[in-house]
Symmetry: C2
Amino acid sequence: MASLSEIGVAATINILSALAFLVAFALLRIQPFNDRVYFPKWYLKGLRCSPLHSGAFVSRFVNLDFRAYLRFLNWMPAALQMPELELIDHAGLDSVVYLRIYLTGLKIFVPITIIAFSVMVPVNWTNGTLKHSNLTYTDIDLLSISNIPPASPSTDDRHIVSDELSRNSWMHTTAHKSNAACLVLYICMQSWNSSKNRFWTHLVMAYTFTFWTCYVLKKEYESVSSMRLHFLASERRRPDQFTVLVRNVPPDPDESVSELVEHFFKVNHPDHYLIHQVVYNASKLASLVSEKKKMQNWLDYYQLKYSIHQSIKPYTKTGFLGLWGKKVDAIEYYSSEIERLSKEISIERNEIRDNPNDVMPAAFVSFKTRWGAAVCAQTQQSRNPTLWLTEWAPEPRDVYWDNLAIPYVSLSIRRLIIAVAFFFLTFFFMIPIAFVQSLANIEGIEKAAPFLKPIVEIKAIKSIIQGFLPGIALKIFLIFLPAILMMMSKFEGFVSLSALERRSATRYYVFIFINVFLGSIITGTAFQQLNNFMHQSANDIPRTIGVSIPMKATFFITYIMVDGWAGIAAEVLRLKPLIIYHLKNFFFVKTEKDREEAMEPGSICFNTGEPQIQLYFLLGLVYAVITPILLPFMVVFFGLAYVVYRHQIINVYNQEYESAAAFWPDVHGRIVTALVVSQLLLMGLLSTKHAAQSTPLLFTLPILTVSFHLFCKGRYEPAFVRYPLQEAMMKDTLERVREPNLNLKSYLQNAYIHPVFKARDEDENDAISQVEEECVTVPTKRQSRRNTPAPSLSNASTSPFLPNGSEHAL
Amino acid sequence: MASLSEIGVAATINILSALAFLVAFALLRIQPFNDRVYFPKWYLKGLRCSPLHSGAFVSRFVNLDFRAYLRFLNWMPAALQMPELELIDHAGLDSVVYLRIYLTGLKIFVPITIIAFSVMVPVNWTNGTLKHSNLTYTDIDLLSISNIPPASPSTDDRHIVSDELSRNSWMHTTAHKSNAACLVLYICMQSWNSSKNRFWTHLVMAYTFTFWTCYVLKKEYESVSSMRLHFLASERRRPDQFTVLVRNVPPDPDESVSELVEHFFKVNHPDHYLIHQVVYNASKLASLVSEKKKMQNWLDYYQLKYSIHQSIKPYTKTGFLGLWGKKVDAIEYYSSEIERLSKEISIERNEIRDNPNDVMPAAFVSFKTRWGAAVCAQTQQSRNPTLWLTEWAPEPRDVYWDNLAIPYVSLSIRRLIIAVAFFFLTFFFMIPIAFVQSLANIEGIEKAAPFLKPIVEIKAIKSIIQGFLPGIALKIFLIFLPAILMMMSKFEGFVSLSALERRSATRYYVFIFINVFLGSIITGTAFQQLNNFMHQSANDIPRTIGVSIPMKATFFITYIMVDGWAGIAAEVLRLKPLIIYHLKNFFFVKTEKDREEAMEPGSICFNTGEPQIQLYFLLGLVYAVITPILLPFMVVFFGLAYVVYRHQIINVYNQEYESAAAFWPDVHGRIVTALVVSQLLLMGLLSTKHAAQSTPLLFTLPILTVSFHLFCKGRYEPAFVRYPLQEAMMKDTLERVREPNLNLKSYLQNAYIHPVFKARDEDENDAISQVEEECVTVPTKRQSRRNTPAPSLSNASTSPFLPNGSEHAL
């Protein structure tokens, strides 16, 4: 356990490293040659062109405007300035609501921190349990619940308590101030005086914090659900509003899937059915298309090369990576290959459309009105509830095409398999890693590869290997864990990317909770914990954990600083994409399209990001009553992360899909879980302090919290699952009035076509020319700042937010 | 613990008492003066008239046909003869499916009993653990798992095992027979020989029993759900098919509830909305109507009296019960009272219809088609999911009118309160009872009422009080428990009687499981158990219970015989309704209507009956592997109960509502719960027998069972919750073709009117005259046997089932 000064040192180190990251970011981002790394979002939106095409040669790469360097932290207020509505328009509702998670953290923890510091820290500090005991203790412990004497003081404790009473007269004077916090304090003091038991303070605080958290959660749920409904209502026409995904179409000997679907819906939704699109099994076609794309890229590269050096005709070899094989004229070769592939693709395309075996038993059915789609998505169609399953169609770009045709029984079995696999992954993942670790030691290497012995025996290398190898297997596993969880979700059969990410996030949270949170508190592998818990009574489990919690406060403070402060600052620097982009740009980038692809804007990554935030909520709520000194660190994390992620969402991340904040019920549920866990652990901790009379009062807290959760679930969750008919009818009526001659059929005709079928259209009008054309002909709001970060005050007034070079306008 | 012979004695006593009940029933039921007690169902259906109106005076009361006495058990085959379809028509689907619970019991336990007796009893019997030990044991124990030696035999056990091996050669010869059971046996024997561990038999049996139970459960779920869908599809037009119950209509300052509902549904379901009926707060009107009914009854009585003795003009007193007050002419008095009440009722009726404050924020909305109703019931209507809540309307007679207008927030709070209250009821109900018991002892009585001392001190009375008083508080509590649970469900706010009964049944099952099942195994109150479990590890709980289970087998065998055999036989005798009917008939019955009401046919009472059957399922599944000797007793219970309840449903019980077997998911879920409990307890028991290597195999059983349950839930439960659009559309189309000119509006106009508003129509055409008329003018299939149980062979051929006097026809 570290003392306050040691924490101070750690804080200094982490603040310095965070600052270093931020300074580096501020310097790197205004260099034009890093533009694509730090502002890819604007490139993807077509609002920004490569700065490499114009201007003086040097200023293309290095920012020579020194005034820019002086205001290097200006991106922070800039990131906060874009109003919420514009942000929704710019980056989607998902991103905005994702940011609200950080805001919720601030809303919960800022008042809690203030109350905790004005009430609990004095109460903890003014005790002498640790001072009068023989235990070793640190300053941090003096501020925590450990410093409170047990409730029934033994004879030799009594003089301490009376001692305390006289010393704490200053608290009485503050207690008479007339604000609410002080009233609470006063009540605490009274009860404490009468019972000579300071745990009443903690009890009252636990109630206060619970009520405050629930209040914030309810407000947030309310506003997110109204944002979602407003977003769905106000946004422009989208194909998924009219479309329902039908799965498990039963096989029929007489009719094809397409005919069957048409007949079924014409019969059962006669007034509303419009058209449908069947789902094809297009895996072969997809591989052909991707091959053609690669060839096209090579052709572009050689044509570019040839147009620069007209004298040298480019040659290539037909073998692997152009390294061996017959030498041929590159342009001719790739042109003929593309022609061959185009033919094959069109044959395959026709074959798929004609061959009934390539049609999967699933379809996207579109309706004439939103009302019809809402009705179909929410009702059961057939007698057999495993056939003709309908649900809202995900957005076209959100569809996960591979999982559309899994039959019902197979889905049940997959779910069981994954549940068992996840259990073993969570509790037994240490077994294979320990096995690898036992192999990957010096002796193992020497045994497996005797010729390495002389090298390995060198002292420096030996110590590196010994320090490095045992950890590496675990590190690799933890890096791949999100991918493994994602694969599990894919196997489980979800049909949209958003659902895949949501499920992976839930699993990742469970893993973090068991292996990071519990694993840090009770050292030992998850399996050992499980084994312990199996042999402990239900009473003892919260007690065992609760007792260890105050002792781990310093560990978690350090964790917050390293992972939260420095980690977030590193996120904004984007070191990995920066290096990869420049490496790619230097070695591989052949065409403009390649450069586009080398950008790697990334996305929010809900499946890894959200569970990590949830760990902070958990830590904050657990330690709020026990060791409130942890709270300020938490608040700094939430504040910094909010600013950083707002900046990243505006300038960097590319939105992969729009689920209209469908993840909020999960976020809400996990915060409530954290709240219940914190209450149970406090109960366990207090029961070891002989404060048994407070147990019934503590016991009601989880019951109240769970019933609060159930209330919220009933009140707000339907907004995330169902679509009210009133809304649908309203929008339908409005649209009918506004556009009486709308041809909905042609609008929906090709909305849900597998991306590979769409590829043909893309091929025809080439991506690069399109982008370049746009850059030249379509002047947009942010175009003036596209090529140079020079000041342009005239434009600044028209644009409320300046993504690049905004420091000049301010 | 009782030996086999003691069990034999107990069995003899219980068989004799059961037989005595059955004989008494057989004799009493053919007496005409008991006709209304044993065949009330036929009276209620109007297919049977009072036998008191015709025939010779003596034969009106006593059956003089002595041949009838010879065939006194013939009601049993008769009860089994009515085919299922006719039974559905006669008594509703609910009753038929309720009988299927007993059939399911037979289907599960008959094969299990056969396998258990051919495999497990020999395996258990041929061990010598108990013989070679110093423990006291009985014959029952020799047949149970207690007789199996621990898995790792200690040195002094080894000679026993080898001893066994040579002795059991006869089992090998039987093992080569080629039926499946023997194959299983053979495999068991092999594994047992190789590992010298007979627990493999129990393990294989646990798997076999689980798979068989799941197989039967799946088949039953399948057939019940198809029966339900068929019932809903094939039955004639019913108002609830077209109607949806709308609750939580938001208040509107400008419009009345009725207008609001009409506008909302005209806007949001423009093509389907037909009419609606608002719900009135009619509690005052209901009390007036019931008062008028009482007066009418008195009037009938006095008119009857006067018509017999024309000379004596009947007088009555206006005070309480006609015992004091002013003496007035009875007929005049009651006529004027009725007139006054009629006026008041019509005023009140108009007032309710006019006064907007008496309209509750709920309505029954009817649609033009079943499709429209199905859509509205399954979708969310408004943005705010706590307003405009729609659900299928229950059948008109199933509606629980008092709960229709509870707001959403209040519902959540009520649910929380009841959950907490039920927890305390289950675990702490012994506290007030123990308190009452401590008061109600001899000393307490003498203290409270000293004048009773001389009486109480008499030895005989003293011993009666001492034996009787302590138990009476508990008895009274247990008698009132179902009523208490029903009140809880009513407070919780369910809107239909069927839902009320289902919820009460769930609670009653939990109570029985904790206080009867666990309470018998681990003696002590539920609270003591809870306290124990809180202080035991998750590993130890099944072990503690598992170890005590084999020792309690004889107790439960006796329980099955007393409660199951004799109890069921007493049920068919209907002793209580018999006595009450004759008492009422003698003292109170004034008019024919009174006699009708004195019949008390009763109903199935799902809320108390089903949980008690579930206790038998639990016992059977738990003891199937551990002490298979219990199984035959179970099978006899299920067989007897099936016959008895089939008879009662045909002849006695009155159907209160029809929920179309909506309770089956609950029944299925509870049997699965029993299965999982049995597996966990077996795991606990085996872990004490040092058979730890079998734990992983046993561990997979609950996982498989739970996932089976989840599969069934997904596959079959929707049939009980939702209504497929395909079905609705099919019926709509058929109806449109068959009855193109149907006036649905007039059909639905008054379907959902509060019963008190309907009362007016009933008053006009009097109930008695109606019944009598029907008896005279409408000849029905069963009419010939109405007045005398004399043989009538000519009619017997036309009637497939003979409810009364059927013995003559056979």
